[in-house]
């Protein structure tokens, strides 16, 4: 069934198309749809799925997905299967190559997009909302708000205050380490930056690199900037900076880079020439580095035999007024609805379903997924170790940012902007920071109004 329904390009049109789909649905509907993976999360609880009464008549909607890799592709299918069973709608999934989809998203949305589109929260959503390329779904949110937190709501909101996005899952940025290495050397998890430095010195004495680091792709360094800025200047300042209300030339930003410069001796050198995967191997496979700061997805790089030996903890606190915020980067993915869906009722029924904790769990418990459901009400009993630890960290995080390239406008965050600037800092950390930061601000100001 998936092959037939996930072909690229336009959905089948006309009677012939409908007939084929009908045949397919009846052919495999009985066996496949009540997906065994989601069975345990209790479909009977007809509590949610509010509009399921009208279900049968809603018909078919389409979902454009950028998940072309095996594990996430199966996870998208899992949430689709769950919601098909739940609401009676039919969802045709059109899978697109990940990078192609991302590069062509604006022409895709301007053409004839699918009804529902898998996308990211934050500024990357707000941009398309402001351009009128995605449709507001306040009515969907009225039904799913009960499962969500204020933070999730803010991340799903457009600049006009309307809701445009249904968040499904996220993952935190953490410090990863090998439990066996810590046990063998008697290291303890650093809670503060002083403990972190002391541990770093000890690791150096043991011939280890304290913190593995690779930034060849330009984006990993953004995570380090985010966490230092949030811990030093607070979440509100960080978001203000991302959205252009605060200035990069602010002395507070300079303080972040000065702090980073002082911490650089603990970072693996040569980061601009190392991919994040190679850095992950240094820390998580070869154990030549003690720690590694990245999203939890880096766990996969440890290899199946080492996964259970990988632990992680939140970045240490800096001892500032903002320690209590426990701010963290945890990018949220989910679904949005294109501006002119062919079947808005079915699309909204799917979005409503996708916003329920059960549907979110159906996604994240698909094999090979390390992200966790966004809803605090999600049932975590089926989570693996990584997911349990992630959920714990996210529960304790007071403020959740999306990540620099999701919180700030894409043309500023991209290779011409912050990716290039951060690499320039890493290549030459002793450069004149005032000039460096005023260059960043000048670049920001040169961008056209959004």
């Amino acid at each position: 069934m998936p092959e037939a329904l996930t072909m690229h390009g336009r959905p089948l049109r006309g009677l012939a198309g409908l007939a084929i789909v009908a045949v397919l649905v009846t052919a495999c509907g009985g066996g496949a749809t009540p997906a065994p993976t989601v069975g345990p999360t209790e479909a009977p609880a007809a509590t949610s799925a509010p509009s399921s009464s009208a279900a049968a008549s809603l018909g078919e909607t389409t979902l454009g997905s950028n998940e072309s890799d095996e594990a996430p592709k199966a996870a998208v299918q899992a949430i689709v299967d769950y919601c098909q069973a739940k609401t009676g709608i039919t969802v045709k999934v059109n899978v697109n190559d990940h990078n192609t989809f991302q590069n062509q998203i604006s022409s895709y949305l301007q053409g004839t997009p699918d009804d529902v589109v898998k996308w990211f929260a934050g500024n990357r959503l707000r941009f398309f909302a402001a351009q009128g390329l995605v449709a507001p779904i306040d009515d969907v949110w009225a039904k799913i708000e009960q499962y969500m937190t204020p933070g999730l709501k803010a991340a799903s909101q457009g600049s006009d205050g309307k809701m445009y996005f249904v968040p499904v899952y996220n993952y935190p940025w953490v410090v990863l380490y090998r439990k066996s290495l810590f046990a063998e050397k008697g290291y303890t998890i650093p809670k503060t930056i002083d403990e972190f430095k002391a541990l770093g010195d000890k690791m150096k004495a043991d011939g280890l690199v304290p913190l593995a680091f690779g930034d060849q792709d330009g984006w990993p360094a953004m995570g380090t900037f985010d966490i230092l800025n949030m811990r030093l200047n607070g979440y509100a300042f960080h978001i203000g900076l991302m959205e252009g209300r605060e200035k990069w030339s602010d002395p507070k930003v300079k303080a972040v880079f000065e702090l980073w410069r002082n911490l650089l001796p603990y970072f693996q050198e040569g980061a601009p020439g190392r991919t994040w995967q190679d850095a992950a191997k240094v820390a998580l496979v070869d154990k030549k580095a003690g720690m590694y700061f990245l999203g939890t997805f880096a766990v996969e790089q440890a290899g199946t035999e080492n996964v259970s030996d990988v632990g992680f903890f939140p970045f240490p606190l800096l001892g500032t007024a903002y320690d209590s915020e426990n701010a963290i980067d945890a990018p949220i993915d989910g679904f949005m609805m294109s501006a002119n869906p062919k079947n808005p009722d079915a699309a909204k029924a799917f979005l409503e379903c996708a916003g329920t904790p059960e549907a979110q769990v159906a996604y994240v418990t698909s094999p090979g997924i390390g992200s966790v459901a966004v809803s605090p009400q999600a049932d975590t009993s089926k989570y693996n170790e990584v997911q349990k630890a992630s959920a714990e960290i996210l529960k304790n995080a007071g403020s959740i940012a999306q990540f620099l390239d999701r919180d700030a406008r894409a043309d500023f965050a991209g290779p011409s902007g912050m990716q290039g600037f951060l690499i320039s800092f890493l290549t030459n950390p002793k450069q004149d920071l005032d000039k460096f930061l005023s260059d960043i601000q000048t670049y920001y100001d040169s961008l056209p109004p959004q």
Binding site: S106, G218, G270, R274, D278, D411, S416
Partner: protein, 326 residues
């Protein structure tokens, strides 16, 4: 066309118009018509179709890029969203946009490196292989192999060679320890050269095959005559073979220039053209492809790339036309 050629050859064009009958006006033309209707139709199609194709697919897009380079547009919505902002894109480009000047310099470095090192090396290998040394077939295939690979794969292969810990090169040099590594792709003073080596790996094979084909077509009698006259190997190559191969030399020169100006793939695969690998082509891509594109700004960079490309093309055309006339 015929008229044009004739009149430009006439020393005193306007005055002699009436007498020569080549000015194409009035009675003289009706009296003598070298082309039949059918010929005219054929000629019209032969000239018209290519002209239409060139206009639609090259000239109009070029003109559109030039117009867009004076605008601000994020690629969303119709023409009404395009705002003319004068020269702002160009002034931003040279004053604010940090990667611009490095990109220009890297493009020129690429050109010079190919012209002075990669291409001559390819020619040299062709001359060696032309000597019918033992195993020449094997050498030919080995050297030509990289040309068959796409640059995306070439980029992948060389990343494996240049990687800091797992990379072949650092392991051979014993420089994998922390503090002792060579960051081939991360050090901005080094990575352009590292990438140029990778690009040359492919360029050398390409030039070699073309040149080898050219060498095979040189009449052996010429070399024989040269050696009978007492010319050394080097003399017979530089004085006899090289001049005879003029057409191939020009093809190779043109290919070298084209390959350098369209340099893109390797830098983009390695790090999207950041940190010492900036090229005009990667800057165009980085500004135009993606979620929020700056079509106008990207077009301005493309226009600069056009200017850089037009230089060698004009030089080549001027020389080629001048020789045709001789």
């Amino acid at each position: 066309m015929i008229e044009h050629g004739a009149s430009s050859a006439t020393p005193v064009p306007p005055a002699s118009a009436g007498g020569t009958g080549s000015s194409g006006r009035g009675a003289s033309r009706r009296r003598y018509r070298p082309l039949t209707e059918r010929d005219r139709l054929t000629l019209g199609l032969m000239v018209g179709v290519p002209t239409a194709i060139v206009t639609v697919f090259i000239l109009l897009p070029t003109a559109a890029s030039i117009v867009l380079s004076f605008t601000s547009w994020n690629g969303i919505g119709g023409l009404e969203n395009i705002k003319f902002i004068g020269l702002k894109n160009y002034t931003d480009l040279i004053s604010i946009y940090k990667p611009f000047w490095p990109a220009v310099i890297h493009n020129l470095t690429w050109l010079v490196f190919f012209l002075l090192i990669a291409t001559p090396l390819g020619m040299f290998l062709a001359v060696l292989l032309d000597k019918n040394i033992r195993g020449t077939r094997i050498y030919q295939s080995a050297l030509y192999m990289p040309v068959v690979l796409s640059l995306a794969i070439v980029g992948f292969i060389w990343q494996l060679i240049y990687a800091p810990e797992q990379g072949l090169l650092n392991n051979l040099l014993g420089r994998t320890a922390q503090g002792n590594q060579i960051s081939w792709l991360g050090d901005p003073s080094l990575n352009l050269w590292a990438v140029l080596v990778a690009a040359s790996w492919r360029q050398v094979g390409y030039v070699m095959v073309l040149y080898l084909a050219g060498l095979k077509s040189v009449d052996p009698a010429l070399r024989e005559a040269a050696s009978i006259d007492g010319a050394s190997e080097a003399q017979s190559f530089f004085r006899v073979v090289f001049p005879v191969m003029r057409p191939i030399n020009i093809v190779i020169l043109v290919i070298t220039v084209i390959e350098s100006l369209r340099a893109f793939d390797l830098a983009f695969i390695i790090n999207k053209g950041l940190n010492g690998l900036e090229l005009l082509s990667t800057l165009v891509t980085n500004n135009i492809i993606g979620e929020t594109s700056r079509i106008g700004f990207g077009s301005a960079i493309a226009v600069v790339l056009l200017m850089v490309s037009v230089g060698p093309i004009v030089v080549y055309l001027v020389r080629a036309l001048r020789e045709d006339r001789q």
